[in-house]
């Protein structure tokens, strides 16, 4: 399962820039991956991947609008907390499913970045940096 999780993480990093893994890469549940996609809001990303079961924020705050206090405790900025998605992989997931998720998520993130004023600002002024 760690292999699948790493396949997901590596795949996303290959397709997208400015994505941040929240929490420790080494010390985490093998099937868990929490990623922030800069300049894209989490809930809007979820709407575009409705054939994949994920949640935004962390598990305990997935039903609310508040940025996750867990992510805050991990040191994630409020802005990146609003841009986070939590992937939970289980023993029945396959490599094909992971590859599908990589393609789907990357496509939606790219589309939403084209719609994002924050992405536009970042591209215009490369000195605008998001501090995680």
């Amino acid at each position: 399962m760690t292999g699948l999780r790493n396949r997901l993480s590596d795949g996303l990093r290959r397709e997208l820039d400015e994505i941040y893994i929240n929490g420790s890469v080494e010390h985490r549940l093998p099937g868990n991956l929490n990623v922030s996609f800069a300049y894209v809001e989490g809930e809007s990303l979820l709407m575009g991947i409705n054939d994949i079961a994920v949640s935004s924020g962390s598990a305990c705050t997935s039903a609310t609008l508040e940025p996750s206090y867990v992510l805050k405790a991990l040191g994630t900025s409020d802005e990146l907390a609003h841009s986070s998605i939590r992937f939970g992989l289980g023993r029945f997931n396959t490599e094909e499913e992971v590859d599908f998720v990589v393609q789907k998520v990357s496509a939606v993130v790219k589309r939403l970045r084209e719609m994002s004023p924050l992405y536009e600002l970042a591209k215009e002024h490369e000195e605008v940096k998001i501090r995680g």
Partner: protein, 130 residues
């Protein structure tokens, strides 16, 4: 979270995504919200200086589906309106049109703020003779 069909439609087929040149005298730009709150809208209008009619509107939004839909709808409504008519657009109109639930009403409020900010920016430019 269940979204109305109209919100989903605006999300999948957003109207008027893009940018107008900020430096153009006929363009008013409104940028509202805050990334820390998960909602930022940039809304722009191009006004015909002779008729005072908005002939183009564009938006870009960082936010949930309801925020995207509210700003997309706003650009649709703005086109063809005079500045006075545009200022009459109220957030409750957006709530009604998109069937926004109570927890998403703030998205419509932000869209109304964005409209007002864009128009105020345009008016300021005319005054400054930019």
């Amino acid at each position: 979270m269940s979204y109305s069909e109209k919100v989903i439609d605006h999300y999948n087929n957003p109207r008027n995504v893009g940018s107008l040149p900020k430096g153009d005298t006929a363009v008013g730009t409104g940028l509202v919200g805050a990334p820390e709150c998960g909602d930022v809208m940039k809304l722009q209008v191009r006004v015909n200086p002779e008729t005072g009619v908005i002939d183009d509107a564009k938006f870009k939004t960082f936010g949930c589906g309801s925020a995207i839909a509210s700003s997309s709808l706003a650009t649709e409504w703005l086109k063809g309106k005079t500045l006075e008519q545009a200022l009459e657009i109220k957030n409750v109109d957006i709530v009604q049109e998109l069937s926004l639930p109570p927890v998403k009403i703030h998205c419509s409020v932000l869209a109304e703020d964005a409209i007002k900010a864009a128009i105020a920016d345009y008016k300021r430019k005319q005054q400054d003779g930019q």
